[in-house]
Symmetry: C2
Subunit: 343 residues, 2 copies
């Protein structure tokens, strides 16, 4: 099969690799009908993470079940499914507690930007999309939003849940990447009265407003923090969603959080030093991490199918999968917020 591989920083290829196949009786293989590029894929792309030359990259996809292992009973060949990037058995103690991203037998999609992807614990992981299918495929208009359910939308949702967004409060979203935008959508859905997004890019500001942002702060650092504090009447935000993963973003998040509130973080932290003295003196907590996608998937799928949310708006560039390298470059250079890939 063909799949996306990374050979070095900024060296992305779409090339022949061994077929994904059922390895465990609980596995399934999904034929990818749509894939996309994650902000976190840019860390190795930029050389910030170690790279094993020639390894596949990409963990977000949706598609049709191509093959199932002997013990898989909840999905069948031909089912159209959303693939959570983090696969879980959905039965262990951590999964039952809603923390599927810490499943005792966790695995991650390895060739999501390819023709086929292996999914561990298919019964626990995959969520079938029913009722909107013609010829086994969903309405093309729904595809981007279904694609967003594999990672980005549940991740933004997790930031809001972790930050404890509540009805009537003020939520601040640090970061206007696709995850941050989905965080805006989540905070808005959860009833926050003020949803402040920190964003310098006009196109992203537009999406943020579509997603329910009531305030846009276009400045950064101390200036941006002062602006947010003013919006919150000097008190600070009731909930802060940190959707970047850098030290500056984290510092801003803690600076604008009101005492007693929580920073929900979902950006893979890179070079972050937590301001523990401030956390202590201001009683600002930190919660979050890798999103338990499977936990939120059924609810979010309902929202998408009912037309209550349209997270697919985060995709502003669609490319054929064999042009995936251009997709990475476009996201790296901020010419695109998030790139959809079609085989």
């Amino acid at each position: 099969m063909k799949a996306t591989t990374i050979h070095a920083a900024r060296d992305i290829r779409f090339e022949e690799v061994p077929d994904a196949r059922v390895e465990q009786p609980t596995d399934a293989v999904v034929r990818v009908t749509t894939a996309c590029i994650c902000g976190s894929d840019l860390w190795p792309y930029r050389g910030e993470n170690p790279i094993k030359a020639g390894s596949t990259i990409g963990h977000e996809c949706i598609g049709v079940v191509e093959e199932v292992g002997s013990s898989v009973s909840q999905v069948r060949v031909g089912d159209f499914v959303v693939v959570p990037f983090d696969h879980c058995d959905n039965t262990c103690a951590h999964c039952r507690a809603g923390m599927q991203s810490a499943c005792v037998d966790l695995s991650i999609t390895q060739s999501g930007q390819g023709e086929l992807a292996r999914v561990g614990h298919a019964d626990g992981s995959l969520v079938r999309v029913d009722g909107v299918l013609g010829d086994g495929r969903p309405d093309p208009a729904l595809v981007p939003s279904l694609m967003a359910l594999s990672d980005v939308m549940p991740t933004g949702w997790h930031a809001a849940v972790s930050a404890g967004v509540a009805e009537g409060g003020t939520a601040v979203v640090v970061g206007d990447g696709a995850v941050g935008l989905c965080g805006v959508l989540a905070a808005s859905m959860m009833g926050a009265e003020k949803v402040v997004v920190m964003s310098r890019h006009e196109s992203r500001q537009r999406i943020a407003r579509d997603f329910g942002a009531t305030h846009v702060v276009a400045t950064r650092g101390e200036e941006g923090e002062a602006e947010v504090m003013e919006i919150t009447g000097g008190v600070g935000a009731d909930a802060v969603l940190e959707c970047v993963g850098t030290d500056q973003a984290m510092r801003t998040a803690f600076t604008v959080a009101r005492p007693g509130s929580t920073v929900g973080f979902v950006g893979v932290p890179h070079g972050v030093e937590l301001p523990i003295r401030r956390m202590f003196s201001h009683n600002v907590g930190l919660a979050g991490g890798m999103a338990p996608v499977r936990r939120y998937l059924p609810e979010l799928l309902d929202h998408v199918l009912a037309g209550r949310i349209d997270p697919g708006l985060v995709f502003d560039l669609t490319l054929p999968m064999d042009q995936v390298a251009e997709g990475y470059a476009a996201m790296d250079e901020r010419r695109a917020t998030k790139v959809l890939l079609q085989p």
Copy 2:
């Protein structure tokens, strides 16, 4: 007046200083009838914090109102009061949100181990002890538990609240100092089914059991962590109370916390590097900080007066206040868990 001062590491004196007096119309001055030494006083005592030679030290006391400022209306001269170590107006946005330790006009008791202590925002801070008084003083048997309400018991309570201790769950308390012991008491009062205390000292283990600990882990580091994991069936604790403030204690706390749980921390952090990658991958949060004593005081006072809790058991050495230096030495050398001082 006489008060406790610190001149250098391990140089504690009880000596003449300027009288505490009403400086703002919202102040009160309290004649200290009982004081005590806080674990956090040991940081400067051991030279771990900067010391301003000759400054007063000590922030925990109870006593009788000696003088009030012109705008004080909720307490009167002669009232017997518990003095929260952190003074708050109890009306600002942070106070109203239950985060009195972040009051916009926060102050801290400065001469609690002295004859007189100034209290800022007396109306917002002080809590009168009614109904158990003969000649204006409480029953001597109640004094240690009332004394514990100034800081140590609300701080242990705050650890449990911050960690999200819930009925039926497992709570692990890292640290068997007086705060940790009060954390055990809090977790037990909140209905945790298993309350695990990590303690190597027999006398403290006894108090912990009196406070409701169901399990004692006497080992530390990896060995202790393994023991706790076994108690929790390999899953990890539903709530972890970090009551020390060192890097080792924090590491242990995060290691034994189940994915999706929260470490509640109340030990002033010293040299702590938070394991952010683990926090992210395991979705273990951190919450807590300086305790909003005034928030918990009325409820905890009720518990003490009704005989439901006896946090005064943490005091295992009582000294006259002029022997305060010996009190510090006893706590530093772990000959005492917590020292009560009587003028």
